[in-house]
């Protein structure tokens, strides 16, 4: 699985960082940063999906 944050849609809710701090960080203004450039570890896939589903802007995608 790979995760991707659409920065132009991110409004800084920071829900992703709250739901899955292993994969999502925040910059100094509170906008989302992906912490993982590579494939998401299998044990974090469920949390990654939860973080994507939790974004009020639907700015995060997971593939597959």
């Amino acid at each position: 699985m790979r995760i991707s944050v659409q920065r132009e849609s991110c409004q800084g809710h920071a829900r992703c960082a709250a739901l899955c701090p292993e994969l999502f960080g925040l910059d100094d203004l509170g906008f989302a940063l992906e912490k993982h450039r590579q494939t998401v570890p299998v044990e974090l896939e469920a949390k990654a999906r939860r973080a994507a589903a939790g974004c009020p802007e639907l700015a995060i995608t997971t593939e597959p």
Binding site: Q11, G12, H13, L26, P56
Partner: protein, 404 residues
């Protein structure tokens, strides 16, 4: 017999029909049963028109509200987020202007309210929370709104803004006059606004001579588009912070503790498992959402199956949307680990509440301390709790008792 906030005491069907036909979010009769009335509107008319207050669209469905929040180019916060429009003739900044100008002001506030900066306030918020609790814990009872919920956010805000804490009673009086005074006399908010502005201008002069570690000092030194802010721009920002930061958190505390005080099994879950608190707060944000926000349609456009005209006023009813069954299965159930929970208490789109991190921190700290120190709190038997709708929904008082 005084009635408590119980779902079985449902609204008069005629009242429901009255609001479906002619919605008015400021009508006091809406207050006690707004959840039930909104549920009807979400089902029957998620997009509707009312002739009240000069006429406005009412969006109650989640999909419609969410779209409107994300599409400022069609549905704008400019010039006012209140229906009817607020008495002030200048837009509050950055809320009542659109991108790209909005972005310039938003960037000035973002560092002050960023998650990292806000996290630094935790110890202070916890200390203030405990001081307030110390004031009534031995008594075994309190009126939670006037003795706690109305005070904590004002204290926190006052310190951040660099206003003297000794003057808090004055700020609360101004806040009440500005937000609620119009029901008595439209002059009241006008006079209070002028007083707030004079007061802040005087403080500004003081901070220009000597900076302090506060928001006013940050704003004086802020540069946007290569220019410092004018005094008027600083006032427009301060006014928004004043309005946005106070009633909202107080109301959230009120409605959330109302729920818990009447559903002791939920209270007990939090007492026994404080790790649940952050998720519980998110679910209670959804279940007891707060805001009906005003907007203006920017051009003639067909949206949500209706023809809207440029200049039409509109409200996004996020309280209704946050219980839309099309978005939230079993919307009238509190499910602490509900997932996903894309509630709209802080809005969405470019005007997402800048204060959301501060609000969440305040809520979490209060939940932790109340459940730790007064775990047996419950609604005082016979208590009468009145809800109101308006722009920021909430309750008037919350008499609680606990074992000492």
């Amino acid at each position: 017999m005084p009635q408590t906030d119980r779902p079985e005491a449902g609204p008069d069907p005629d009242l429901v029909e009255q609001f479906v036909a002619a919605f008015d979010h400021h009508d006091p009769k809406l207050g006690q049963h707004y959840h039930e009335i909104y549920a009807e509107m979400v089902e029957r008319c998620p997009v509707t028109w009312t002739d009240q207050h000069g006429g406005y669209w009412v969006l109650s469905g989640y999909a419609e509200v969410h779209h409107a929040l994300q599409h400022h180019e069609l549905i704008s916060t400019h010039p006012s987020v209140s229906v009817p429009a607020f008495h002030r003739d200048r837009p509050m900044l950055p809320l009542e202007v659109d991108p790209p100008i909005h972005h310039k002001y938003r960037l000035l506030l973002a560092p002050v309210f960023s998650p990292k900066r806000i996290a630094d306030l935790e110890d202070d918020i916890r200390a203030t929370t405990n001081e307030l609790i110390d004031g009534f814990i031995g008594r075994g009872r309190c009126e939670f709104m006037s003795e706690f919920a109305d005070l904590l956010p004002v204290i926190v805000f006052t310190k951040m803004m660099g206003l003297p804490v000794e003057e808090m009673a004055r700020f609360r009086a101004w806040r009440d006059a500005i937000l609620h005074g119009m029901h008595e006399d439209p002059e009241i908010p006008r006079v209070a606004t002028a007083e707030v502005e004079s007061y802040v201008l005087a403080l500004l002069e003081d901070r220009k001579r000597q900076r302090r570690d506060d928001i006013l000092s940050v704003l004086i030194d802020s540069v946007a588009d290569g220019e410092t802010l004018t005094d008027q721009e600083i006032l427009d920002i301060t006014f928004l912070l004043f309005l946005a930061g106070l009633d909202t958190v107080s109301s959230a505390l009120g409605v959330q503790f109302l729920h818990l005080a009447q559903h002791l099994e939920h209270r007990d879950q939090l007492v026994q498992g404080p790790d649940l608190i952050p998720d519980a707060i998110e679910e209670l944000f959804r279940y007891e959402s707060l805001i009906v926000g005003g907007r203006t349609v920017t051009r003639d456009v067909e949206l949500y199956g209706v023809e809207m005209r440029k200049g039409d006023r509109l409200v996004v009813n996020t309280v209704a949307a946050d219980r839309d069954p099309r978005q939230f299965p079993h919307p009238d159930e509190v499910i602490f680990d509900r997932d996903p929970n894309r509630h709209l208490v802080f809005g969405a789109g470019p005007h997402r509440c800048t204060g959301s991190h501060l609000a969440r921190l305040e809520m979490r700290v209060v939940f932790e301390e109340v459940h730790r120190r007064t775990p047996t709190y419950r609604l005082e038997p016979g208590a009468v709790v009145r809800r109101h709708a308006d722009n920021v929904h909430g309750i008037d008082r919350l008499p609680l008792i606990w074992d000492v």
